[in-house]
Every structure is written in structure tokens, then in C-alpha cells.
């Protein structure tokens, strides 16, 4: 894994939270583990800052993820995620190459994997308060393009990778029979790199651009629909406010839909 995370507090917290169900799961006789499997789709966009926050662009990603995990007695859960994603890096500009390049080539496919966890903390009345954590890695293969408008054709080879960490509490209302609305506020860290290599005749250069997501606190609203104890649908919308480079307040948005079975 070559994505530089800088071991930020958010990343460490995310890892800790994701691994914590293993420690938090009570070892009580007579209680059994449950397995969960499912699939989900999601879309999110993030505003990115790069070149020491001198420039910004937007990344949007559509993901299809399979989930497989375990629910421990008393509720903590841990799931591994794996799937495929399309990440659109349009707007990244590479000025360290011999011929500067403005990436407008659209989405690039990549493998996505990660983990997520949910740890119940309190259950006051009909409310559930839990801690949630999620980490996702997108590891794309390199893609090649031709640069044909010059007097000698050239090639460009690009590879984008990103990591997203979300950690925070959520509050779920359990007062309804088959559905439960919830809200959460969370730390939302996003880091990535895009490496572009250019070769045109004697001209050759590589530029590795490090990006970070603008805005680190997100909020989401969602609903969990449970027509039976073994089946769960979850729909969620999220927003990450951020201050753009011009100083204005903007929002990055995301939506997701998940279906899971427990057995």
C-alpha cells in the first residue's frame, strides 16, 4: 500500500475503531455469533486540494461493494468490504511534466476494499447510540492514454489511489417496527495520490500529485429497513461541508444503498 496517509489521528482512530469489536465482543457462553453478507452501491464526491492547497478539483466516485462480516454477541459488528469503483479525477492539472496535462479523461476503474464496524454504546429508551468506523482503499491499475496533438505522439500513464476514513457516532431511533431512521456526525478523512508519467520522444517526466479531501466533518441521515430479523436495507445520504480555496462554504454529497442478510 503506497498511499501516504501520514498516520493522521483520524486514520489511527479509524483503524482502532474497526479492530475494536474483536476486543469489545463479550465472551459469554450460550450466545452465538451471526454472520452477515450483502452488497451495496454508493456514490460520493469530494472536493480535493492539491499542490499545497494552491489548487482544487473534485473527485467523484461510484462504488459497488460486497460485504462479509460477523456480528458479535451484544451487537458489535465487523465487516470486510471488497468491490469495484469508478473514480473521476477530472480537473487535476500536472504542471511538473514537460508538457503540462489537464486531466479530463473521466472515470478510472479500480479495486476497492476496506472494512467497517459498528459498536453499540448506549441504548437509552428507544434510541441506540453507537460508534461507527469505516475505511476504504481504492487501488487502481495504471491507465494509458495517447497524446496525439503534438508533432510526435506521446503516451501518458496514470494511476490514481485514494483512502477514505470515516469515524463517528450515530443515533438511531428504534420506535418503529420495520424501519429505523438514524443520523450521524463523523470525521471524514480523504487522502489520495495520482501519479502521471509522460513520454514524448526525448521528453519524459513523472509527477505524483498528493491530494486531500477538503472538509473533515461529515453528517448523514439514513434509514434502516428491516422487514425481517435476517434482512436489512440501509439507505443513506451524506454531506461534507468545506471551505473552498476562495473562502466560500460548499458541500460535498454522497448517497448509498446497502442490502444485507444475517445468518
Amino acid at each position: 500500500m503506497s498511499v501516504k496517509l501520514g498516520w493522521s489521528p483520524g486514520f489511527i482512530l479509524g483503524l482502532g475503531l474497526i479492530l475494536s469489536p474483536l476486543a469489545a465482543a463479550p465472551r459469554q457462553d450460550g450466545q452465538s455469533f451471526l454472520f452477515q453478507a450483502g452488497a451495496g452501491i454508493e456514490y460520493f464526491s469530494r472536493s480535493l486540494a492539491w499542490d499545497n492547497d494552491a489548487y482544487s478539483s473534485r473527485l467523484s466516485a461510484g462504488l459497488g461493494l460486497a460485504h462479509f462480516g460477523i456480528v458479535f454477541p451484544d451487537g458489535p459488528s465487523l465487516a470486510l468490504l471488497a468491490g469495484y469503483g469508478l473514480s473521476n479525477w477530472n480537473g487535476l492539472v500536472f504542471r511538473q511534466l514537460p508538457f503540462s496535462i489537464d486531466y479530463e479523461a473521466g472515470s478510472i476503474g479500480a479495486a476497492v476494499f476496506g472494512a467497517e464496524t459498528e459498536i453499540p454504546i448506549l441504548e437509552p429508551g428507544r434510541w441506540d447510540i453507537s460508534a461507527n468506523g469505516r475505511i476504504l482503499f481504492s487501488l487502481g491499475p495504471s491507465h494509458e492514454w495517447t497524446l496525439s496533438e503534438l508533432n510526435q505522439p506521446g503516451t501518458l500513464d496514470g494511476k490514481g489511489r485514494w483512502t477514505r476514513v470515516q469515524v463517528g457516532p450515530s443515533v438511531t431511533y428504534r420506535g418503529f417496527e420495520t424501519f429505523s431512521p438514524y443520523a450521524s456526525v463523523y470525521y471524514d478523512g480523504f487522502w489520495g495520490t495520482f501519479t502521471m508519467t509522460e513520454n514524448i520522444g526525448i521528453l519524459a517526466g513523472t509527477e505524483k500529485k498528493t491530494v486531500r479531501g477538503q472538509g473533515v466533518i461529515g453528517a448523514s441521515l439514513g434509514v434502516i429497513i428491516e422487514p425481517s430479523s435476517a434482512f436489512r436495507l440501509k439507505a443513506e445520504g451524506s454531506l461534507v461541508p468545506y471551505t473552498n480555496l476562495a473562502g466560500g462554504l460548499k458541500l460535498s454529497a454522497g448517497v448509498s444503498l446497502q442490502a444485507r442478510i444475517l445468518f
Binding site: 504542471r95 514537460p98 508538457f99 479523461a105 473521466g106
Partner: protein
Amino acid sequence: MTHRLKVFRIPVFAVMAASFLAAGDGAARAPLSFPSILSASAAAPETAFVPGQVLIKFRPGVRGIGRMMAFAAYNLRPIRRVPGLDVYAVRLLSGADVRKAAEELDLDPDILYAEPNFICRADSTPNDLFFKYQYALANTGQAIGDVPGSPQGKAEADIKATQAWEETTGDDSVTIAILDSGVDLTHPDLAAKLAGTGRDFVNSDDDATDDYYHGTAVAGIAAAATDNNEGIAGVAWNAKILPVKVLDATGAGTADQVANGILWAVSQGAQVINLSLGFDESSQTLLSAVRYAHEQGCIIVASVGNTGGAVQYPAAYNEYVLAVAATDYNDEVLPTSNQGEQVDVAAPGADILTTVPTWFLGPSALPYALVSGTSMAAPHVSGLAALLKSRKSWLTPDEIMAIIELSADDVNLATLAGKDVSLGYGRINMEKALVPRPLGEDIP
């Protein structure tokens, strides 16, 4: 042993439009009398559009499913919408011809119109009074000169300077050495740009004042003070000019003077050396000086000559020098521009409005004139080299030469495709050399 000095004349023929520039002459129309100086602006190239994208507007009544069926039928992927106009930006299949696709979509009865998604770019237009006459930098099809009967330029037959200036106008850490007849050190459009009084290798002193006119003309093209509400714009707005006098008052000089000038310019930290001069024969001394400068990281630009014959030296030192031919306001080769395999690129060199010494046209005239020749083409390239060096200081001379060559427009493609003996790779294109190239969906 005899010692033979190689004497040459500068390869330029000048066309001085003194009447055009005569201030206060009732018969002449002084440029200052025109009120619309600041409106000069280069339009975006007509052919510039986003690769693989077209804009579509459906006819009224064609909604949801109808639109989706149209997208599916033509393999279109909607990527954006202009809600106020109900226009979609859609992505075509990889490799599709955008114009052809737009024409085909236009024929669909459900589609009101389809067109390429044209690219505009904010142009940086300087406020210099005579900028509108500088067709070489931004050719809008304007008249070349301001007297009745002036020829008309062809729009876009220029080096795309205004587009490139959006990316960079250079900085004063880059110096262009003008090895020529000196520079008018008091010229209002040059004085503030000079990196000192230079060096005079003709009279062996430290005063490189121009006593001919040629060096002042070359310096103005490369890096006149720009956006200063006065005179002309230079290609490299912020680059410094280092005057090095190697030509005398008749425009002649010797190989040892030029070689000395090159070495001195290198010692003064010049990153770009402009040599709008030429010898008919090769000189070991000159070659050694040029090679040394190249090895020291200098980009050397030289004019190919105006005799219609072979490429002159030092332009012919292909390995070390960017050899520049001349085009006119129609992107056609200047008939007198020398030819040969060594020609690398071309730049406008016909009727170029530039600076001349304040004494040159007399006290009542403004110190600007129209000058022609490959000598005037070369400083356009030197200016571009200076901008590239400003933007990407890590590039080597070979890399900067390659960028300038590979980004040139093959303007004589119809008759001499590819690199040719007339214009080399073609007329330089500052936009392609400097502005980030859009990387579209050009996946093999």
C-alpha cells in the same frame, strides 16, 4: 599564418513604416488616435472543443424515456446538464469523431441541435497601446499597419500568445541575452527591462548602446515592457534583457566578437541567448562558444537568414541551436527565409511592429517600426523559451527545444507535411507549449 576574420552582415531587411509612426503628422494616422486599443482580443480557436463530448438539446416534447432511448441508441453517456437551457453534455464512444457525431445527431428528429462542446479560455490581453498591431502575438485578421492599402492578416496565424499568457508571463529570474547591435538603453519600452548596461564587444566597453537599430528591434519582440500602457507587448513580459553588442553601427560583426559575447552572456547568467545574425560559413570558434553555452544550460535561438539560400551559422549547428525560419501574417513562409534540414521551427517575421532606438526615426516620431526578416522571427522563439524556463526551471535546453518543436503548428501541412526544410516543425504555438493540454478520453 594568416588570420581571416569572418565578416558578415545581419540577415534582415527592414521595412520602416515611418509615416505610420509619425506623430503629429496630419497626413498620417497616429496609432494613439484610435480609441479601441484595449478591445483587442484573440478569440478562442474555432476547432477547440472537448474531446469525446457533444452538447445536445432535445426538441420540446421529448422527455424522460425518449431521451434515455436516444442516449442508448447513440451510445451516449450524459455527464452534465445545463438546467436553464435543458441542454445535456454527453460523452461519445471512445474515439468517435466529435464533429461527425454532432452532425449525425443533428439529423435525429428528436434532437433540436447537437454541437461540439467548445472550449473557451480567458485570454490575457495586455494594455500596450500598439498591441492591436502585433498580429504575430494575436492575429484577429487585422490590417497589418495602419495606412491605406495595408495587407490583411489571417485570423489565428499567430503564436497564440494571449492564450499562453494566461498560464504564465514569465518572471525576472530569467534573462534573455540579445547578442546584436546593442539595445537602446533609454527606450521607454525597454529601459526598465534591462539587466544592466550590458557589454560592448565592438568598442570594448560596458555600454551596449545600440548605434544601428537591429538589436533594439529584436529586444522589443522578445521582452518589451508589457501591460504598461505604452508601446508594444513583448513575448516574455517579465524576462530581463541583457544587451550584448557584437555588431557595429553598420550591422556587421566578427566571429570572435560573437563568441566573446556568447561566453560573456553565459557568465552573466543568461538562460536564453538570441542570435538574430548569421555567418555564411562555419567557424570553429563560434561552434565552440555555442557548444559551451548549451552545455552550461543556455537555450540558444538563432535566425536562419534571409538570402533564400542555405541555413546560416550558428542556426545550422543543429545539436545546440534552435534554428528559426520566418512566416508572415497568413502563416506562409517568408519568401526570403533560408531553407535546410537544420530549420527547427518558424515564427512570424513579416512586418513585425517593434521597438527601434529613440533617435532612429527622428525626434518627432514614436520609436516603433515595422521590421521584417528571420531576425524578427527568432526573438519570438526566445521569448517562448524564456517563458518555458520561467515556468519549468528544471528543464534542460534540449527539453525546451523539444517542447518548442513538438508543439509547433505544421502550418504548411498541405504542401510539406511533417518536419520540412522550409518551416521545420512549423510555426510555434505558445499555447500548446505552455498551457496544460487537456487529456481527454483518448484511450487506445
